[in-house]
Structures are given as C-alpha cells and as structure tokens.
Symmetry: D2
C-alpha cells in the first residue's frame, strides 16, 4: 500500500491540496546524526520553481520532524516528518471536479475508490514524492556511514542522449539546471525542453543512477533480488514506464561470450573486468558499480485543449491550465536517488542476518 521496505520502512501520506504530506520512517537504527540542512537541501533539489525548465509554481517544502530524533540523533523510534502544503487555499476546481484528464489517475481513482480528492491530483500527484525525498535523505545519511554513494543524473531527453556513465564526471551533475554532467549535451537538452515548453507540450527522458561502494552481499533471493526491489522502487515513481540495469535491453543482442563478466583478482579482492551485470549477480550485489536507467514518459498535463469524458460518460474538453513541468527528469533526479537509498538501506539492514 503506502509503505515500502522491510526493516528500514517508510509509510507516506498526504494529498497535494490537503493540509500536509509526510512520511514515517520506521526502523532507522538509533544513533544516526540527523543533518537537518542535508534533508532540506535534498528537498530543494526536488522542489518546484527551481529554474526556467521546471514548473514556476512556488513551494518551499520546508519540513518538520515530529518524533524519533532527540538531541540531534535518531533514537530507533519512528521518525515522523511533515511538509505543509502551501498551495491548499480554496481555489475553484469545478472545471476538473467531474472530468477525467487524459493519462492521469483521475478515472482509475474514481473507479477504484468511488470518491477522490479532485484538487490537483490528490494522492496521485507527484507532490507525494517530496515525502520520499525527505525519507531518502535520512537513508543517505545512514549509507554515508558505510561509504555508499548514490548519484543520479539526466542521461536522456527525447532523442538526446548523454554518453555512458563511465565516461562522465558525476560531480558535475548539479552544475546545470537539467542535471546532466555532460555540459554540451546538457545545453542541448535545456534548449529542447524550452522549445517543447513554448509549444505548450511536454517530453520524456531517462534518469540514470549509479551506486558506488556497495558491499558484496546485498539482495535477498529469490523474489527480493536487489535489482527487483530497485526496479519496483523506481517503477513506483510517478510517470516511470521502464527500468533496466546493467546491460539492460541492449544486452539482448549480445552473445553470452561477449556479455559474461570475467572474474579476476585485483590483489585485494575479486572483481569483474566488464560490468554488464550492473553490479548484481543472482540478485545479490557483487561489489561492482550498480547502475540502472529509469524511463519517464512525457508529463500528462499539457497546455492544450484535449477531448475527454466526464464522470457521467459525456464528452467534454480538458483545457491546459496552471504551471506544470515541460519535462519531469531534472526534478526526478533526487527522487530516483532517494528511492535507491531507501532500497539499499533496507537491504543493508536485512543483510545483517545472512550468516551466523
């Protein structure tokens, strides 16, 4: 339902136009220093209104911790975080109250639940991901303790693709508003999005994520394989249509003799020469870089009139209004990182009982 994780477990709540959204993190080990500035900085990477290629809607996304932290440290009890909604004033929603916006969740929520909060997407709004980012920030603090680093970036917008991650300097991701570490591709992506925005349209893209310094042994076969859980976590993000790790869909056309990752001994530990496996073998991390791609569809809200139907099945027109993202990927980068951090933190705790 609205919870994720086995030992490091989050439960999120909240609608886009209710009083607040939030999250409970249950299972965070005690004694972790909770860096409030870091949590805020992660939320800021996701918040609307950051740049000309994101929605111009302004929200501060400042958070409150209600429990689970005492004198700056986690206590082992549930950490509850709330983020108030500033946009919740009573606007006029009558134009969308009974209408199903194309490729949104309006129709399915209405059918499944019989009632729905029709103001701005309600629970199905991507606003919900702010809670994930706050929780993910705490997971990242835990992972830092053991040296694990998670870096996502925009690797594709429309047809424009960045080179493979091994050819990029991932420290440059935050240097530009599209969050692509290749400067020249970044510029092209930005101008493409700008163009799409002016055409009152939207476009899709890919976020690539790289996890470094994972210990060998994370992942729980056979159903909770590491990549299966990462995949689920990514696919649970709004607008995601696909997931691949390591060689992914491109691996299909290779021969086994090309695709197999040869083991060698680097003097200190066992490594692989290539990494088509994406750092995971048999569902368990092997210590190499974990990397994966997440495909995002073009945002469904466009600034154009679109034919649709209303609750009674009558034909109607949905007109594009408001302030929306022409492309979701720059703001999706911290969300992908947050979900990755939550998965890895959970498996790190789960791995503690593999052996006697």
């Amino acid at each position: 339902m609205n919870s994720y994780g086995t030992l490091f477990r989050i439960s999120t709540f909240g609608e886009s136009h209710g009083p607040a959204i939030g999250v409970i993190i249950d299972g965070c080990p005690a004694g972790l220093t909770i860096d409030l500035n870091f949590i805020q900085s992660e939320l800021d990477r996701r918040k609307p209104g950051q740049s000309k290629i994101t929605t111009q809607r302004k929200e501060d996304d400042s958070f409150k911790i209600l429990s689970g932290v005492f004198e700056g440290k986690s206590t082992g009890t549930p950490i509850a975080i709330t983020i108030e909604n500033q946009d919740q004033r009573s606007k006029d929603y009558s134009h969308i109250q009974n209408t199903f916006r194309p490729s949104h969740a309006d129709y399915t929520y209405e059918s499944k639940y019989g009632v729905r909060d029709y103001r701005g997407g309600g629970r199905s709004s991507a606003r919900e991901t702010a809670a994930r980012v706050a929780a993910g920030a705490i997971a990242k603090l835990l992972l830092k303790q053991v040296g694990i680093e998670i870096n996502a970036y925009v690797s594709q917008v429309g047809e424009l693709k960045a080179p493979h991650y091994t050819q990029l300097d991932l420290n440059k991701t935050e240097d530009n508003i599209i969050r692509c570490p290749d400067v020249s591709i970044a510029e092209k992506m930005i101008s493409l999005i700008d163009q799409v925005r002016l055409a009152r349209d939207t476009i899709g893209g890919v976020v690539t994520c790289v996890i470094k310094n994972t210990p060998v042994g994370l992942g729980e076969p056979v159903f909770d394989k590491l990549h299966a859980e990462i995949g689920k976590a990514m696919l649970s993000i709004n607008a995601v249509k696909g997931f691949e790790y390591g060689s992914g869909f491109d691996g299909i056309t290779l021969r086994g003799s090309q695709h197999n990752d040869e083991f060698y001994n680097d003097g200190n530990k066992i490594r692989t020469k290539t990494n088509f496996s994406g750092g995971i073998q048999g569902g368990i991390s092997n210590g190499e870089d974990i990397y994966f791609n997440v495909a995002f569809k073009p945002v469904a809200t466009i600034m154009k009139d679109q034919p649709s139907v209303d609750k009674d099945g009558n034909e109607t027109i949905v007109s594009g209004k408001g302030r929306h993202d022409p492309c979701v990927v720059p703001r999706a980068v911290p969300i992908v990182e947050a979900m990755a951090a939550l998965v890895i933190a959970d498996f790190l705790l789960r791995s503690k009982s593999s052996k006697i």
Copy 2:
C-alpha cells in the same frame, strides 16, 4: 525473501540438485476447482528437453500436491506442491566446487552466505522457476473464473523483432518451438538460435506479455502500483535485465500531446483511443489491455572455456560442459505468464476492500 504476494502468497523452496523443489500457496480462496492436468501442461511448457533449441536435459517435472486440496477443490488452507529432482544423483562437481562461473551467482552466494550448494547452481538455478509455474497455474485457474486472460510470447531474439502485439494472433504462440506467433519471424529466430548453439554460444531476447479483461481498479498506490509489482515480479526471474510497460522506453521520445490516451465513451464504458498507458494509470488498471516487455540476457553458461578465479582468488579456467539452453526465452514464456498471474491474482483479492 522467498515469498511473494500479500493475500495470494507463494513461498518457494529447493535447490536444483537437492531432493525436491516446491511451493506453498497461501491465501488461495476456497472452492476453486484445481485442474491437475492444467498444472502439468503449464509445467510441460517450461520443462527442459522440449525441442532442439532448448537444453537436451530431460526432466519430467511431475508434481505432487501435499495439502490444501480436498475432493478436487481448494479448501482455503495452504496448497503445498513438490516437484522431485530427477537429476540429483551424485555426480562429480569437484570441477566447479571452488570456482566462480562468470556472470553466475556463485561468487555472490559464497560471499553472502559463506557456504553454498555448488551442484548446478543450487538455489540460484532457474530450476526454481518450476515452482513458480506450478503456483502460477493455480493463479491462472482463479483468474479464469473472472475472465482474465494472460498471454506471453517471444517478441525478440537478438536483433530479430516481432511486430507489435496488436498485429499478432496470440492464439498461435504455441504453434512453434520458439513461441512467437508470427510464423516467418519465428522461423528466423529458430535458425538464429540454432546458429548460436552450434557456435557454442548463447543469445538474449524479449518476452512480451498481454493481459486482457482485467477489471478497472487493480493496483495499490503509491508503492504497490500495479506495474511496479509486475515489474518486480518479472525482474525476480533469472536472467531478466529490464522491464517496460505500455510505451516503455520508446515513450521517451514522444510529446505529451502524442502520448496522452484520449478518453471516450464506447456506449458501455469509458475507454481510451490509444493505449500508451499500457492499461495502467496512476498505478491502477483502467480496463484496457495491460502489456509489457521483459528483457532476458544471453544465458551465462556457454560451451566455451572462460578464464575466472576460484574461492582462494587464484586464476582458473571454467570449461563449458553439460546441456544448457542457447536462449532462454522460449522456456521463459510460461514463467512470465505465471508471475503475471500471481501478481494479478494478488491484486484481485486486495481490491476487494477498496470501498465500503
């Protein structure tokens, strides 16, 4: 761990060379007629030795039901199924006992658990999927009661692709040994695999799955979105590297105005004109066809010598022996269907409490 599902829940066990593998299905509603022939026919679709393009290893994969079925019907108590391993005779495994086969799970299992059943892959062997197929057969029997149909087929081998599913007759899937409903592509695929096999190599492919007649309302936001759970289920199958649904990775290059699925009223119910959404909106089924692609890497076991290391970190050679699949996709078709059936059955039960 080794369980999947919330209300319709399976737990599998067993190693490839232990006495038996098996599964417990907990939560199957009482009163379902259990068609033993159907379960066997599903297992037969997965079993080795079916055709010249699968491994020539022979296993009957006949099953026993130990509990949960009485006078031909499910009783609501756990249904335990075992499948004996016929290949468990004591062979000489000394050549692989201490060696890590490239792109297998040998190294990660050894590191995670400190001990491992080194005979033929042990728990990480794809043999484990036979238990999934048996359980999936029971899920299919449940879904048939409400008219839901699940059809998977091979849509790609190497570079060879079948047309979009809407242009295929899915009743023809079982007409050929590759399980591709397009006869002429099927022939090309078969001869490609044969060629790869003669080269003592392996190749990857894609299985596409289509689910028809799903009721509106399956899926539980925000983490257990329908496609997120399907994705996890598929990624948990051995050798899977990627998952996409609806427009998938191709949706990236479309504009929102092209990608949005326009609603209309067909007289009886609300439908969409296109189906880039893949039958799922906001994580909940909308009644249109659900369709998705699952990417399989080339099988790691090849009939060639490969350099590797042993447990002590010394260089060694892994030599290809035995009878293995040159391409996993024809046998993966029933596995993909089984996992899809298990996910849908679970959400069908979970959906019963959406509304008062």
Copy 3:
C-alpha cells in the same frame, strides 16, 4: 515494529514530550463517513485529568486530520492524524536523565538503542495509546456499518471483582468514573483507588471486553487465529500482563464434558448453548459473543522514593514526582476497545477473500 494490521493497518509515531504524536491508517476502505466528534469523544475517554481517580495532568488531546479524508469521507488513501503534545515545554529532566526508574522501560530502551528520549518516558510512555484510540475510533465507525459493537469495562480492581458480563448492563459503563457497570462494585473500586492514591501507591486491575454481532468466519488460521491477534493487540498495550478469552484460565479445572459448547439450531442459525469458547473456535469467530479479560499491573510510577541505579551502575534514589494515575484501568477501557476494533476491522477486510 510500530505498525499493526494487514489490510486495515496503522503506524503510530511520537514521544510523550516531542512536538506531537500521531498515526497513519492505511487500508481504510473509501466512502466511510468520518465523524470527527466521535473521534474526539473517544480521545476524551482516554485523556488525563478526567476525574479524581486519574492523573490530574491536563491535556486536551485535540487532533488534526492531515490526509485521507475529503468532503467528510475516507478516500481510500492513508488517513494521517496528529495530536500535539501540550506538555512538551522544556522542564528540568536532569533528575531522571541518567536514572533507571524501576519497572519502567528506561533501562531496556537505553540498552537496546544506546540513546533515549528521557523526558517522561519518551516512546514508551502510555501517551502513545492516544494515537491508537484515534485510529480505533475510525475502525469502530467501519464496524458500525456492519452492526458490530465493542464494549469494554473495568471488571476488577485489586481483589474487587464485578460479576460475569452476562449479568451486567453494558450501557451503564460510562455512568461512573471507574467505568464499571455494576454500581455498587464501582463505588467500592473508586474508594479503593482513592485509598491507594492517598497512600502514594498504585494498584492493578482487569478490563473485560465484549464484542457482539461479529459475523461467523473472522480469523485466519493457523498463526493469525482471531484470539491470537486479539491477544497480541492487548498485550501490546502498556502495563498489560495477561490475556484470556472465553473460559480462560478458569477453564483449566473443568472437564471436557462440562466445557464443550453444545450446538443447537435456534430456527434461524446455528448457535451454542454455552459459550466457554468465547465466540471463537479453531481461531475463527462462530457468531457468539467474543469476550476476553486483560490484566493490568499496578502503575510503575509511585509517589515514593525507590532505590535504583543510574547509567553508570551507581546506586541512586528515584523519587516519585508529578501527576500520575493510581490505577490505569478506567483510562484503559477505551484503549482496549480501540485495539479490539482495529483487530476486528482488519479481519473483516481479510475475510473477504476466503471463498471464490
């Protein structure tokens, strides 16, 4: 951890002296009318300062709903409720900061987590049960829809016992401050507690709970038997030391021929003549009244000096301060009802998939 339930699931958070406590209810079916006054009235039954035999500490326990309710009805999304702590002003806690109060959770929390919120019990405070009562109120609203009634009352204080529930009018429970429907016993209980309070001591008691109109079929063998889950829920309440249902510990001395509940047909349905089974057979409700007893120990906080040790293992004295309950049972009545309602609501939803 801090969550309870499978389909109707709550997650609580909060420390007694942090900013707020609260709860997320996930899985409440959509369309339920949420009666805010009823929730408040339930919280009022639990709140401190109600009468001379409860703590004189004043807290309003007014709540806010942050999500999951729209236009007065549940939407099927998580219902988040917060209750601010009014007592969180910075008092001087230095006297208990390093001291372990006898029969409290100070020592075990410190040992388990290495850090603890030492202000007034932190997470281990019974204040946490306010969140359960708020969630339980919503469960009760759901149960009312199907006619299920839950009534708890004080059946014992020290040696003073009320008669069996079948000889009581459970509508009279709220007529007195001890919440015992037998007026004359109630008066004796009140004066006993008053006496204990004046002696700066505390005393234990029993809360009995009766659930009427449960449908046949609630409970999920073999581990989630209805009484096993009720038992766990009750034992999870602070200060509870024992649980028994139906004949309970007294059943030990009966013969099978006396204890068996004879079936008969009352013309409309199958009933039992006696009800030693407590409305549950084989872990499943049989439609008769479910009844059980919950034993509460004397409150650990007493107004006397007690020898103890501090964090460093040095001898010290814990002196009784503050405003505490001399007997917990009158305020425990709504907590027992709340937990019972949460269990029954969960099994009601779970029972929907027993049969095809």
Copy 4:
C-alpha cells in the same frame, strides 16, 4: 495466515489426513549445523503414543529435509521439512462428514471456507503443531549458539499446581510422563489424568515456560513487544485459552510499591532484585529470566455421546470414538518451547539493526 515471523519466518502446511504436513523455514542464517537427531528427538517428545496418559494412536513423525541444508549446514536458503501422515488411509468418515463436533473447528471452517477436509480435523488438527516443533528445533539450535535456553514444563493439571519455577529443578522435566519437575505433584497429576481418562472425559492444564540467558534488547515496541509476540505465538497453539507473563493475573492485587522490580548492580551488570516483570520491560528483554504461563482447555474430543447439529441444521448425536488425549499438556510442552524458540530467534535477528 500460515506464516509466522519477520526475519526467521516459518510457513506451515498440511492436513491431518492428507499425504503430508510440513514447514518452510525462511531466514535461518547460513552456517548453522543442523543436528538431525535433535530435530527427531524434539518431534518424539510431541508424538502421540508416548505413554498411557497420551493418545494411543501411533505415528512415527519421521521427517525429511528437502532443501536449505548442504553438507550438514544451513545455506541461508529456505529449509523445507515434510512429515508424512501415516494415518491417511481411507477410513470411513461418513459419521462426521456432515456433523459439527462441539467445541471443534468444524462449524467455523465450514462457514468460512464453504468446504472442509472433514477427515479428523483437517487443517485445524493439532497434528499441524508437529511442523512447528520441527521448525522450533532449528530455532533452538540457533539459540544454543548464543547460550539461550528454553525450558517448559507442566505446572498445573486441573486444580493440581506445581510450585513457582524458581523452586524447581527444570532438568527433571523429562523424568516423568507428565513432564512436571516436581515428582510428587507429577504423580498426582498422572493419576488425576488417568482417572479422567477412565471416565471417558478430558481435563485442562497449564504449561509454564522459562527462557534463560536472553540478551538485553530483544523486542520491538510498540506493537511487537516481546511478550505480545510470545503471547500471540502461544495463543496460536490449539486449545490455548490464556497467556500471562511475569506476575500475570496475580499482579493485579499487588501495590506498585510491592510489584516494582528494584534495580541493583551485581558488579558485572544491572539486575533486578525481584522479577515480577518476567524479564521484559517496555516490551524489551532486560536480561532476567523470561517466564510465562499458557492455559490449555480440556480437549474437546471426549469418549461420550454429545448432542449436536449437522450441516443442514438438524439435531444429531456426536459419539466419542478413536484414540485421543485425555489431557493435552504433556505433549504441549515441546510445542510451547518450539513457539518460544521461534519468537526469540526472530527477535534475535531483528535486534541486529537497533543501533548503527
């Protein structure tokens, strides 16, 4: 449902007269030496036909391990164990097929599931507990590694009570057929049961369990308190009607000043002078002995005719037949220990992530 535990998790299956019963243990750490003789000896303590005061039915209860153990050690993968039913030959069950035996689960299973395996109790038979004992034996092997000891014994039959456990030598439990370490009470219990048996009746009793050497810190507040989970585990055993730990129901009549357990420093560690807390404070073990009582009702199957109704609601007579236990407690001792071991093993693994 039919699973218990979070990290050390068991799933049981099987009906009394089906081909086999069994259990999967998922989450047992790798590297544990699996002592097959010990597992058998535990099963032998539970098996029928041990002595004149248990049922004379003969079953060997020999087990097979199908997976998860390799070269004598656990591998971290699921351990599947089956126990064949020897009594499954086709007898004539027509006399009970349509009849509801008093205080059995016949009526509730029939109502809940619409179908039931009517042969000898099916899934609701206490035969299911053999699977728990096999799994519990493996949990005990794990606990032995860290020095934890679990000892249960019969402390009451009818009105006959043994002294408090602190006055008994728990090594003497297996010295007599009733499993009570006080020889003179044991003799009285045995002759009472014999008397009851000759009267074709049954009687109830209490099993007390003591867990020694538990580390401080087991238990997960607030819902998964250590005693709440132990309570649930005990209440899930057939015929159990009550559970109390530490002072239990007797604690009700004490004053707080009598009941509080004073802390002291024994030179090495912090201890309590008394142990009314039963080794658990705030739901977390404090290192003192954990002890608790489990109340068993008189067995429902008696050798007398009893009036009842059949499926159609018609009056009928249930006549006592077969070979049944006049008192369940001697055979319940290993079951109580097994469930206690499973709970403690699970919390031992869960406790590994309390702190960073």
